[in-house]
Amino acid sequence: MSLSSPAGFFSTKLGDALGWARKFSIFQYPFVTACCGMEYMSTAASHYDVDRFGAGFPRFSPRQSDVLFVVGTINHKMAPVLKTVFDQMCEPKWVVAFGVCTCTGGFYDNYATVQGIDTIIPVDIYIPGCPPRPENVLDGLMKLQDKIQKGEQNRTLYDPRTKVGRPAQLQRDYSITQHIKNIESL
């Protein structure tokens, strides 16, 4: 459908309107595991006030949230839980890696730590820092809003063996598919 036709015009405008609505009503799921959580709380509290960007409403249910904020070190014991939470979120969904530990593993080059959550789930915005300052977080949040406005979503994982991205094998709904499989096997 071309932009010149009336239908194309309207669908483009509808997409813009949806993007605009979505980017200012971010329901976030804070997956907070470590010290970055302090900076996350500082960003959320009144001094920096993340609610100015429409993201002031954390939901502690993955079903009700749009953006997964992974805040703090993820270790290999925690990794399956993070994947499950991501899979349980409804589309459209985005992921923010908050702090260097989630981006690359940070200085935890040890037996326990996942070297970047992008090896497990696709990440849209990386906010580096140890921990990142609230200004840095808000900058990342605004970049995320730009992505949401454009309707862009990352669907690739980082593969450390080949050093390039590979398409993520996404499960639409983790527990429901498991549930259906269980019913079929009965």
Binding site: H76, K77, A79, P80, K83, D109, N110, Y111, A112, T113, V114, Q115, G116, T119, I120, D159, P160, R161
Partner: protein, 164 residues
Amino acid sequence: MTALEKVQEKFTQDIVETHVFRGDETVVVRPSALRAVAQFLRETPELDFNFLMDLTAVDYLFFAGGRIQKEFRFEVVYHFFSLKNNIRLRIKVPVDEKDPEVETLSDLWASANWYEREVWDMYGIRFKNHPNLKRILMYEEFKGHALRKDYPFNKRQPLIGPLN
């Protein structure tokens, strides 16, 4: 009479060495006598060590860059504190590499239960008669013991995702 002297008097045969540094007393005892010493510390009224503050282990493999060779590989370290008498005592037990096993103290101090599980998880030292000796920090699928000096510090065993 300090706690160290009391232990020395009662268990002369079982003590490998002792030392005192700025009032902090340490006794190295043979593994066979650990239970008896612990019971003595717990039940003697003048000592009354009712608080096991810490229980950990040391791996002496490659100690001091390999320059210092010890006859044993591990040492289990106990830090006791008496809330009533305000005294402290450190007990060390040398443990052999071939059969790394010491007696549990979890029936005497309940806090020893999780400490011993941690030492098992990280160093692979077994605790005889422990009620629930399984990993406490790492996942069950993890192979080896992460704080042993011959375990590569960054050898990762992911449950999901690629090896990195």
